[in-house]
Structure formats: C-alpha cells, structure tokens
C-alpha cells in the first residue's frame, strides 16, 4: 500500500507515492531522480545521504519518506542557484576538497548548514560540525580548508 506525500524540495512542491518502509533517501534517489544524495552505509554512520529537513541536516537514510509530509527539504541539487555555484562549491573546487566525490554532496549540505548557523567557525567547530560525514580519500584537510575559505568569502564576514 502506498501513501501519498506532499512536500517541498529545493523550493518546489513535490508529490510522490511511497511505501511507509521506504526511506527518504530511497525516494529521493529512486522515485524523484535526485541522485545527488548517496547511500554509503544506510544506517546513519557516514553522512553521504545528508539533506536538509526543515532547516536541519539529517541522514536521509534514517528518515521515512512518509515523514516528509508537509516538510521542507533541500538537497545538494538545490545548493547552486540559477547556474551559479555557491561559494562553498567554488571553494571545494578550487581547494581540491574532493577526490572520488561520493561523500562531497553530504559534506556540502552539512557545511552549508554549519556556515549558516555559524558564519565564522573555528577549525575545531568545523571538524566537530562535520564529524557525521565520513570521507576516506582526503584526510579532511582540504575539506576543512575549503569550509574555512568559504567562511571568509561569505558576505557575513
């Protein structure tokens, strides 16, 4: 039996049918073709599936899609606006803050949330804020630096 859900994704109203057991991750990827969020572990330990749910970063593998009724969701696909990369995306590119790239969407979503809450985070605040996102390629150095660069580039500073 499928449930009808109406939600807002990256600013647009979206309706979908889902089974209660389906995770938000599964619906975003399999039903809505928003494949930017990735499945790395499917139990909330890697952060590759991070999306914003009502203004907070969540592991979309640990959200049932039916819970999204009436919610506001933002995914990595919504970060760049009208053909322009967000400063964080630009800093990730220029700072070589990605290698294989599978964790990158999750990091971008979490980092954007972090900078919106705390526009000038310290290195330790960045590291603590991003601890729910695993990266196996970079050793995190360039990711942390890219977030630092973006915080300096942001208009709040």
């Amino acid at each position: 039996m499928k449930t009808h859900v109406t939600t807002t994704i990256n600013g647009a109203t979206v309706e979908f049918l889902c089974q209660p057991r389906q995770s938000l991750l599964a619906v975003l990827r399999d039903e809505l073709s928003l494949t930017g969020c990735k499945e790395g572990c499917n139990n909330g330990n890697c952060g590759a599936c991070t999306v914003m749910l009502d203004g907070l970063p969540v592991d979309s593998c640990l959200v049932l899609a039916v819970e999204a009724e009436g919610a506001e969701i933002e995914t990595v696909e919504g970060i760049a606006e009208q053909g322009h990369l967000h400063p964080l995306q630009q800093c990730f590119l220029e700072g070589a803050a990605l290698q294989c790239g599978i964790c990158t969407p999750g990091f971008l979503v979490t980092a954007k949330a972090l900078l919106e809450k705390n526009p000038q985070p310290s290195e330790q605040e960045i590291r603590f804020g991003l601890a729910g996102n695993l990266c196996r390629c970079t050793g995190y150095d360039k990711i942390v630096r890219a977030v630092q660069a973006a915080s300096q580039a942001s208009p709040e500073s």
Partner: protein
C-alpha cells in the same frame, strides 16, 4: 524489511488508542535513529509505526524557574543544546545531547527516544538519572510517573506496558550552587557508542567547598544505565578535592558489572568508570561554583 503501516496522530489520546488497539508489532517512531536501523536490520519488526512527532505535548520544551525543565518525549537533541538557557541550566544534559551521533543524528534523535530504546550505553540516560528526572507515561489506564533510574529493565527493555507511551521527562529546577557533567569514553572523538559513560550532579554548600548532595549515574557498564547509589551517598558532606573525586570513582566502580565485547573488556570498562566519575565530578563542581 517487511512493509508496515504508518500513522502520525496529532492527539495524545489518538496515539494511545492506536497503540492500545494494535498488537505487539507496534513501534513508536520519534527521531527514528534507532528504530529505523533496527527495522532495516531485522532486529525488530513492525506492523504499525506510530510517529509521535506531530503530538504537541510531545514536542514541548519548556524551562521555568519553579518547575524546572519539561522535555517532551520527541524533542530532538538539537533543540535542547540550541537553547542557551537550557544548556546553561542543565549542562550535564547538554553534554550528552551534543555527542549523540553527529549533527545529522542530533537533528532527529530525541532524549525520550534514547530512554525508550533503553540501550545500556545510552548517553542521555545517565544525566537524566543524575538530575533525578521523572518519566511521565500515558497509557490506556491513565498517566503515571516513574523515576528515570527505574525505567530501564534490561538491554532494550523497559517498564512501558502495551499501549503505553512516554510523554515527557521533567527535570527539577536547579539551584544556583548545583552543577553537572556527562562524559563518555569512545575510541574516536565522535560517532561512537560509549565504552563507558558517567554523569555527575552535585550541589555544593554556600562556600562552594563542601558537597551537600550528589548523584552519579553510569552507562555501558551494566545491563541498564545505573544509579551509583553508594558513591552518591558517600559524597554527601565531603570536601571538594581530587582525592574525594577519585574515591567516589572507586565506589562507583562497585556498581559496574560490564561485559567483554568489541567495544572494550570488562576490566577496561570498570577502570573507565573510575576515571569518568572523577572527571565528571571535577567538572560538575567547577560548574556549580560558577
């Protein structure tokens, strides 16, 4: 994972009716960070999942000078530590909710859920016990209140009866000369399950030199989080000092009955109880003096 039905009642009565009517295949969904994993991995199964986040009583978070903290059962960790007054008034609780999973988990996971999941290693339960928190339970037979230290009965088990629901937790108001802290030991610095955890709550005398009241609670060292009663009693009247903290740690170790597993040996966990009790007492006393 077998599919299930989903309900998101907006009224407490409705939720209780649903829970009471359904069989033992009913699961309550708050933050979902434990139950969704358990359903997916086949550790639990469900015919019906009842989402309680749309019930207003369960999402209330209220701090008042005379009543203390009212913590709705589905309030997320994030909301607790984002409220600076609450974090300042209940620092031991804030310590715990800041380290439950990463930010993504904290956006969803609730203290009520942490309690109802009843893991021996739960981070939020020791501070609740240390703060003498009360669990407010509603069910088909009406409401009841239970001290948190009596809530968990075994790993993954608690006193909730068929059809019952945790509505809220209340923590008594904090006098200015009280302080608390929670620490757990994990091999990494984040994203881990406690090898051992300890929460300490103290109330000092006017001078700030003597302990009037103390409560110590531990996690991951027994089948349930435990109240270290002997250590807590012994601390009454003691003068604040490193030696006293260490001695309290030694007493706290006596209630630890840990197991050997991939997270640590029994010997190591017992040892950590001493270390963490000592360290959290020091922080709690320091906070009490502020």
């Amino acid at each position: 994972m077998i599919d299930f039905e989903y309900a998101a009642p907006t009224q407490l009565d409705e939720a209780i009716r649903l829970l009471a009517a359904a069989g033992d295949g009913t699961r309550i969904l708050a933050g979902g960070t434990d139950i969704i994993v358990q359903l997916r991995e086949g550790l639990r199964s469900a015919d019906l999942v009842v989402d309680i986040k749309k019930i207003s009583e369960l999402t209330q978070l209220k701090l008042s000078g005379d009543k203390g903290l009212h913590l709705g059962a589905s309030v997320s960790c994030r909301r607790i530590y984002d409220d600076q007054n609450i974090a300042a008034s209940y620092p031991g609780l804030a310590d715990a909710v800041r380290i439950i999973g990463g930010w993504q988990i904290q956006s969803r996971a609730s203290v009520g859920g942490n309690l109802c999941n009843s893991s021996p290693a739960a981070d939020a339960i020791p501070p609740l016990i240390a703060y003498s928190a009360t669990a407010h339970i509603a069910g088909p037979g009406g409401k009841r209140m239970v001290p948190v230290e009596e809530f968990c009965t075994a790993p993954g088990h608690n006193i909730l009866q068929q059809g019952e629901l945790l509505v809220a937790l209340t923590l008594p108001p904090q006098p200015s000369n009280a302080g608390s802290a929670y620490q757990r030991f994990i091999p990494r610095n984040e994203m881990d399950i406690a090898v051992a955890g300890a929460a300490s709550w103290v109330q000092l005398d006017q001078s700030g030199e003597r302990i009037e009241q103390a409560r110590i609670a531990l996690s991951a060292v027994a089948p349930t989080p435990v109240f270290a009663v002997d250590a807590s009693e012994w601390l009454k009247g003691q003068v604040v000092s490193e030696e006293v903290f260490a001695e309290a740690g030694e007493l706290a170790k006596r209630v630890a009955s840990p197991i050997d597993d991939m997270r640590g040996t029994a010997e190591y966990r017992t040892h950590l109880v001493g270390v963490l009790t000592k360290r959290t007492l020091a922080t709690a006393c320091q906070r009490a003096r502020k």
